[in-house]
Amino acid sequence: MAVAEQDVSGRLVHNHIDRDERIGALFEIHYPGLCRLAYLIVGNTREAEEIVMDAFVRTFSSWNRIRNLDRSDIYLRRAVVNLSRSRRRRRRGEELSNAASFQAPTWNPGGDVEGDMVVWDAVRQLPRGQRAAVVLRYYEDLPEAEIARLLRCSVGTVKSQLAKARSRLAQHLEKENEDV
């Protein structure tokens, strides 16, 4: 599929029709997963929805600047992760205005529901940086090098963040077990 042409200056010029089609396909395929990813980082469904929508709009607006359109999903994921880490909490009114458009997560029956809830509560108490590293490592199953690229930091920083996160999670889960 011809996705782009080059003008005289060598700059990529993309067909707008192709852009709309591809953005639409990306939305259908990746929107749910990106919402889940954002939710795991920010811990709020409405904020997660706003983040993912913002990421798609930014991708739409900067479509002509994306060099490798075949990896536009990576661009989207990076936008979601960065927005999730940096986005401040919106005002309450803004959150409520979009409350109806996002379905609250429901716990699937089966398995160790209580145990999973404990783990999730422990993750939510992590700082956002550590939480992002944990989610990308244990939910997205990304290697540390890819996590470093997404978080725009060194691999050492990722390892450090993951180590700190695991330590805190271990302490939290151990405390939970003692309480039980």
Binding site: G24, Y39, V57, F102, W107, V113, G115, V119
Partner: protein, 235 residues
């Protein structure tokens, strides 16, 4: 970290994320958001187009306005049947203006402008001459300075042509103002002071007499009277 904890993390995160977002609603919202952006682009484009259209309209309007002015001044439509009147002086101009060199021709209007006879007058010329006009109006009749108040066809005021103000020095026919070629025959016109008597024009009949021949004769375009035998110049 122990392997069980990693496993618990994977399972816990997967369960926490086991919900289904409302993609359809979000997609509709995304379409709305991007439609606004597309609309902004269209508005921007439309603004540029409107600016261009305004420029075009202004240009066309300017041309039209200019044409109107040109018409009023008698310089419009060179293919028209009416000609440009020159040196047609009114009474005031005949008495007040010096009229230039008396030795020069007291040439009046060559042709009155039937459409705007007043504007045919050139006070500076003051040449005791009146316009002989095809389809002349009262204004042409008033322009009887120099006594040559030959009413144009249909003119009703010929009496003013008997005025004595024509004693003013005849004006110099400034052909350069008209853009017309100089007519050497003009120099044969009477000198100053000789233009006090009204003289009937060829077409306008006697001064003061209503024109009876109602058939206007279209004047040739830019009749600069290079054919003086057919038209009286001044007196």
């Amino acid at each position: 970290m122990s392997e069980p904890l990693e496993q618990r993390l994977r399972e816990g995160l997967a369960r926490a994320a086991s919900f289904e977002p409302r993609t359809a609603q979000a997609r509709a919202r995304f379409e709305r958001l991007t439609r606004r952006r597309r609309l902004k682009t269209r508005i921007r484009t439309a603004s540029l187009a409107a600016a261009g259209a305004t420029l075009v309209l202004a240009t066309v309007g300017g041309v039209g306005f200019t044409k109107d002015i040109r018409d009023r001044l008698g310089f419009g439509d060179p293919s028209g049947s009416w000609s440009i009147g020159i040196n047609g002086a009114d009474e005031d101009s005949a008495t007040k203006d010096d009229g230039g060199d008396p030795s020069e021709s007291g040439a009046g209007a060559v042709e009155g402008d039937a459409k705007s006879p007043v504007e045919d007058s050139n006070p500076k010329d003051g040449a005791g001459a009146a316009a002989s006009s095809n389809g002349g109006s009262v204004a042409n009749g008033d322009a009887g300075a120099g006594g040559n108040a030959a009413a144009g066809e249909g003119g009703t005021k010929g009496t003013t042509g008997t005025g004595s103000q024509g004693s003013g020095a005849p004006g110099v026919t400034d052909w350069s103002d008209t853009g017309l070629d100089a007519c050497p025959d003009i120099k044969e016109s009477p000198a100053a002071g000789q233009s006090t008597e009204a003289a009937p024009s060829d077409e306008g009949g006697a001064a003061g007499a209503p024109e009876t021949s109602a058939t206007p004769t279209p004047s040739p375009t830019h009749t600069n009277s290079c054919e003086p035998s057919s038209r009286p110049i001044g007196n």
